[in-house]
């Protein structure tokens, strides 16, 4: 009889929120593999019903402390479509600047504190800080710039509140923006140096047969607008999101699993964005991609850290373009409540964030549906682990566990967001092995 073994990670470290991994093996066959999300469900979609539309951007922003801008951008644009409100061009530019700030903060923290320990064989971000002070300081300086962007447009850096239907509550002061631009220009070299440091680390290779999905815009690197495209020819309007992607409940998770109808798992996030939008990168980001081009020949979730590094450079250039091209005070269009539906899909740091909303004639939420990136990636994370495990079955238990956890972290899962979503348990059925 084949040997039965388990891998159990009861509380996944260096991911956002509470989850676990359970793997059961019989010989070399995986009999069970579950990325378990046990963080309690949060019922945002239920308690937002009946709330005023203008409250929704700030309320949904509280879903996540790392990507509040994503929730604000998807929800406010869904509401604007429902109400027939069109923001003016300066607002559009400021929204790109605002999103760039969030990409910088989120990517940089993941790169040095969550991902780097895996590539250095260290336990945590503190050890990285002790032993590799320069790159950590560099990332922290760059993160601060992202933080300044959020504070400038969101009125405060944590739980920002600056977004309103049609624009921002307050237009930023041009002098503040120009000071920011000057610092961004100075620090872009730092972002390049940080990516260079990651290219010297032992970043594994784990190419996958996976469909990459991201937004694509006719002229720009995608953030707030574009069509949804994939590496296998999908090309749809965002309004077709709900018809194209389906979510299913799985018993082991408080997050829903997403699939492309009739096709299966897919991958969203920085790797998909960079891969599908190479020709939309800024010259500096494009040069950065060229320096790691071989890591993008095939979809490889392990190369996500490079995609994040490239996007930090891109975000700096996006922020600079938004500030340099800013035409001055944005005006907020007036709006009146009306019954209507709106759908928006934007590129959160971790990938597509879809929000569909239906408002009633009184300007209250009748229905809202929120599909965060981590729940879209969940099925793909499990598929990735199913592909990885057969290659590492002969490795010691601890190493198997570490490799599985590291693979999960490549997706930078945000479990707190996905709960509408880790610990690893590998079940090999052999008491000697289930340490």
């Amino acid at each position: 009889m084949a040997e039965r073994r388990t891998i159990e990670v009861g509380a996944l470290a260096r991911v956002e929120g509470e989850g676990a991994l359970h793997v059961a093996l019989e010989g070399t066959a995986i009999t069970d593999l579950r990325l378990e999300i046990y963080e309690p469900p949060r019922f945002f979609e239920s308690f937002l019903r009946g709330r005023a539309l203008e409250e929704v951007p700030d309320l949904t922003a509280r879903i996540c402390g790392i990507c509040p801008v994503a929730y604000q951008m998807s929800s406010v644009q869904a509401i604007e479509r429902a109400l027939g409100v069109t923001p003016d061009p300066p607002t559009r530019a400021l929204r790109r600047l605002y999103y760039a700030g969030e990409w910088m903060e989120s990517h940089l923290l993941h790169m040095v504190f969550l991902a780097a320990p895996d590539f250095l064989g260290l336990d945590d971000g503190m050890a990285v800080a002790r032993l590799h002070r320069e790159p950590v300081e560099r990332a922290l300086r760059l993160r601060k710039l992202g933080n300044r962007i959020l504070a400038t447009l969101g009125a405060r850096p944590v739980n920002p509140v600056g977004v309103c239907i049609g624009g921002f509550h307050r237009s930023p002061d041009p002098a503040t923006l120009h000071a920011l631009a000057e610092d961004l220009r100075t620090e872009r070299g730092e972002a390049e140096a940080l990516l260079d440091w990651f290219t010297t680390l032992d970043v594994p290779r784990r190419p996958q047969d996976v469909e990459l999905v991201a937004l694509r815009h006719p002229d720009e690197y995608p953030m707030n607008e574009g069509r949804i495209v994939s590496s296998r020819g999908l090309d749809i309007e965002v309004d077709a999101f709900e018809d194209t992607f389906e979510e299913t409940q799985v018993p082991h998770s408080t997050a829903l699993h997403s699939r492309i109808r009739g096709r299966g798992a897919y991958l969203v996030g920085p790797l998909a964005r960079v891969s599908l939008n190479r020709d939309r990168l800024s010259p500096a980001a494009s040069a950065a991609l060229a320096s790691v081009a071989d890591r993008f020949d095939q979809p490889d979730p392990a190369a996500s850290v490079f995609a994040r590094g490239i996007e930090v450079i891109q975000a700096i250039d996006e922020a600079l373009a938004a500030i340099d091209g800013w035409a001055g005070a944005a005006t907020v269009p007036t709006w009146a409540p009306r019954a209507g539906e709106g759908m928006a899909v934007t590129e959160a740091p971790r990938g597509l964030l879809a929000i569909a909303i239906r408002g009633d004639a009184r300007g209250e939420v009748e229905r809202i549906r929120i599909v965060p990136p981590t729940s879209q990636n969940q099925a793909q994370i499990e598929a990735d682990l199913r592909a990885l495990l057969p290659q590492i079955l002969d490795r010691p238990h601890e190493e198997m566990q570490r490799r599985c956890e590291s693979a999960i972290r490549d997706y930078d899962p945000c479990i707190s967001c996905a709960v509408h979503f880790l610990d690893l348990r590998v079940d090999r059925g052999d008491p000697c092995d289930s340490a």
């Binding site: 260096r14 971000g125 503190m126 922290l140 405060r156 707190s416």
Partner: protein, 158 residues
């Protein structure tokens, strides 16, 4: 000698206590003592501590004491840093990061003000009184920190 008072907090209820102390002390400190407000201690305490010879960190605490109670907290008595998630970093993690980066001064004191409720936009009256009492405590600590021999390496004794 360069000294700094760092008021840690958020804008929510009694969690403002550390920020309130920074605000109250701003005009009361000698020229060589800087005051900063720190709203994201996990990632920004290291920066706030950088480049000074001694620092006092003031933050709201919850220990079961009466609201507004001011106490000296020994850095060693703080809980272990939590597993590093970028979502929830506090003073403990911020201090650990500052030490890892080598930018925590050897002379460091932490003052805690017992919080009552963490909602709303104002301090509860007992905590406002606590913040005022904490200012006096901070001034005494600064004098102690200043008097310490630079090579003692440890925290000042209150």
């Amino acid at each position: 000698m360069r000294l700094r008072v760092i008021g840690v907090g958020t804008d929510w209820g009694d969690d403002r206590a550390g920020l309130r102390v920074a605000e109250l002390l701003e005009r009361r400190l000698p020229a060589d003592v800087g005051v900063v407000a720190c709203r994201n201690p996990g990632l920004e305490l290291a920066d706030a501590l950088r480049g000074v010879d001694a620092a006092v960190v003031v933050d709201a605490v919850r220990s079961g004491s009466p609201a507004g109670h001011v106490r000296r907290v020994e850095p060693e008595a703080l809980a272990e840093p939590r597993a590093f998630s970028t979502h929830g970093l506090g003073v403990v993690e911020g201090l650990a990061l500052a030490r890892a980066l080598g930018c925590a001064p050897a002379r460091l004191a932490i003052v805690g003000i017992e919080a009552d409720h963490l909602g709303g936009e104002t301090l509860s009256p007992a905590v406002e009184r606590g913040a005022r009492a904490a200012c006096e405590h901070v001034l005494e600590l600064l004098a102690d920190l200043r008097a310490m021999q630079p090579d003692t390496g440890g925290a000042a004794r209150a």
